[in-house]
Symmetry: C2
Subunit: 382 residues, 2 copies
């Protein structure tokens, strides 16, 4: 089935680039003199400019969240299950903006872009970013598009962290904040997995201290390993059991055959790793995982999430998935508890799902129902 | 505190080597023409030769399970918490045998040993092993020591798999089988983590296709990564939170400092990784993780663990730890259910512990109590 015949699809979409000349002061104290943001939009901005929705992407995401890039394109955007006509983020109703974050590797300014001071790729010299830097750059994009206030800012995982940060940094510019499978901050275990992924990348000799582009190298083994680690931890034990069990791809356990034994899950992981390493930039992966680790919603609010959320003026929807062990329901409930204590309107649902953290990308009926009905309410306010 | 002053210690121990000239037919169909096993013993074999206990080690273990190797040695054997006078495996009562498994890298014949056909290290050509091969080689060691029947065969994790295999392969030679934090077979998630560890090792250029010894190389980055993955997954989320939280080792989140931010858990992991890679052999790690993956107690018994356990003639103690997510309590309960259905005597306890899979190495009071009181009953039978 190709783009044109998909039901509920936004159809063919064309990425756009916004160039910003005014320097952006970053949380690290450095400034980006100028930058580009690549983005896509789906649906139509209403005359009151009140129906705009911002979609924030997670670790390995980008601007292409829905629809297709050409008639022959068979793979839609990464959140096509949730964005489109009649879907939870209904493009008949909302004007959806989805961008590639600063520091990304899909067209926005990032480690692959030329450093204006040297003319060479930024590589490891690209400034470290925090979620608030993304929020500030996204606010610039909102200004450019003439969007004073988002009907909703929405994100899963690292995207949910950006959505929460929006509610604190620009309280008057967000009406609804939708936080899916996210957390107030990462646990030590989460940081540990991210650190192993970074170590895998950095110990690949082809990483060359991060200057692989200049040297015509690609640290594909390290990046592949990093992806495998992410992939296993974003799935639940049950999901992997259902998907692969102990099925063999090759070999048997008969005499003399052990060397050839290969489980399905092994070849699947290797395939995932090698695919990813062809499509993603290693320095971006390092930058994004650091942003995840550094995120701590309440750090500047006396480490008190209740005090932090008191700044917010929007309503919240918080969603978690029962078998998600990287961003467990318990983490979502911490968000909810803090919002309740801060006397903010919050709706929470934990969705029973076997698929672990990855569930937030999947068309699970109850998820789509809860998400969709909340978004209907958002839409009725305009 | 040095060796001589430790309470409840077996004191100074001296490893011994047993050489076996008769070829060992392996599950893979190949034979080892001859082999060495390094082992230690603690306590005294009684005249009836009825008080011998075999300790089987896990993935990264070896023969040095208790006591010290010299007066100045500050670090005891890996299971010193459980082996010694007055400890659960009471050396006043039992004669304890602990060996380095075939394929190991601490003195027993393995990938680092010379291949008699080439004179060079076996390396990746060392035959793949299964738990049953270890059991068969351990039976040879029992013969050599004049031990017809073990009072108990005991192991945690991969060691528990060997203990269970003993109960099926040599039912008349085991009186008690003690299976701690183990499973009837690994889950897809477990296999996936092992595969990532192997990929980390094999993609290190210094692995040189497994022939690093011949080339004077050490794949220390890959082996360090493998260890980090193991380490994170053998600890629970709570254990890591208690140990590290989000404490920083260096840097601050103030303006301009991000590049230097390092969490405690990051430096701890790197330290663990680099320590391990100096002490362990990469081919052994690959061999051991494959043995873990391949283990499936009931494969030759119509995939029915009840049918498998019907062969056993011993009593069982099964222990699990509440926060162990690599070998979860659910996996232990599968063992217990099968034993009950096979009408075998079984005692089971799930120990509440924060420390994840690593709990089986720690002196947790309830663990030592349950384990110790079961072992007292074992001792009273002699």
């Amino acid at each position: 089935m190709t783009a044109g015949t998909q039901n509920g699809s936004v159809g063919i979409v064309v990425p756009q680039t916004a160039h910003f000349e005014e320097p952006l002061l970053l949380a690290c104290g450095r400034s980006l003199p100028s930058f580009d943001l690549v983005f896509e939009t789906y649906g139509t901005l209403n005359p009151q400019r009140s129906n705009a929705v911002l979609v924030c992407h997670a670790l390995s995401g980008h601007h292409h969240a829905a629809g297709y890039h050409s008639e022959s394109d068979t793979k839609p955007g990464w959140w096509d299950e949730c964005i489109g006509p009649g879907k939870p983020i209904d493009t008949e109703r909302f004007f959806v903006v989805s961008l590639n974050n600063l520091g990304g590797c899909h067209g926005s300014t990032g480690p692959c872009s030329p450093n204006p001071e040297t003319g060479k790729p930024w590589g490891p010299d690209f400034p470290p970013l925090r979620a608030r830097d993304w929020v500030n750059s996204q606010a610039r994009l909102a200004d450019r598009l003439g969007i004073g206030c988002w009907a909703a800012v929405i994100g899963g995982s690292l995207g949910g962290m950006q959505a929460m940060r929006w509610s604190l940094e620009y309280p008057e510019r967000v009406q609804h904040c939708i936080v899916i499978a996210s957390a107030l901050k990462l646990s030590a275990q989460n940081i540990a997995f991210n650190e192993i992924a970074r170590q895998a990348i950095e110990s690949d000799p082809d990483f060359a201290g991060g200057r692989y582009l200049e040297q015509g190298l690609t640290p594909s083994r390290g990046l592949g390993l990093a992806r495998m680690i992410g992939h296993v931890t974003y799935l639940s034990d049950d999901a992997m059991a259902n998907k692969f069990g102990r099925d063999l791809r090759s070999g048997t356990f008969e005499h003399g055959q052990e060397a050839a034994v290969e489980f399905q899950v092994e070849s699947y992981l290797r395939h995932q790793g090698s695919q990813f390493s062809g499509n993603f930039d290693a320095n971006t992966y390092i930058l994004m995982t650091h942003a995840l680790d550094y995120f701590d919603l309440a750090r500047e609010y006396n480490n008190d999430p209740v005090e932090a959320f008191r700044r917010a003026q929007c309503s919240f929807l918080v969603l978690s998935f029962s078998t998600d062990w990287r961003f467990s329901p318990e983490r979502s409930r911490e968000i909810v508890e803090a919002l309740i204590a801060a006397q903010k309107p919050v709706t929470y649902a934990d969705i029973a799902a076997d698929e672990g953290h990855d569930a937030f990308l999947l068309p699970l009926p109850r998820y789509l129902d809860v998400f969709g009905s909340y978004m209907s309410r958002v839409g009725e306010q305009h």
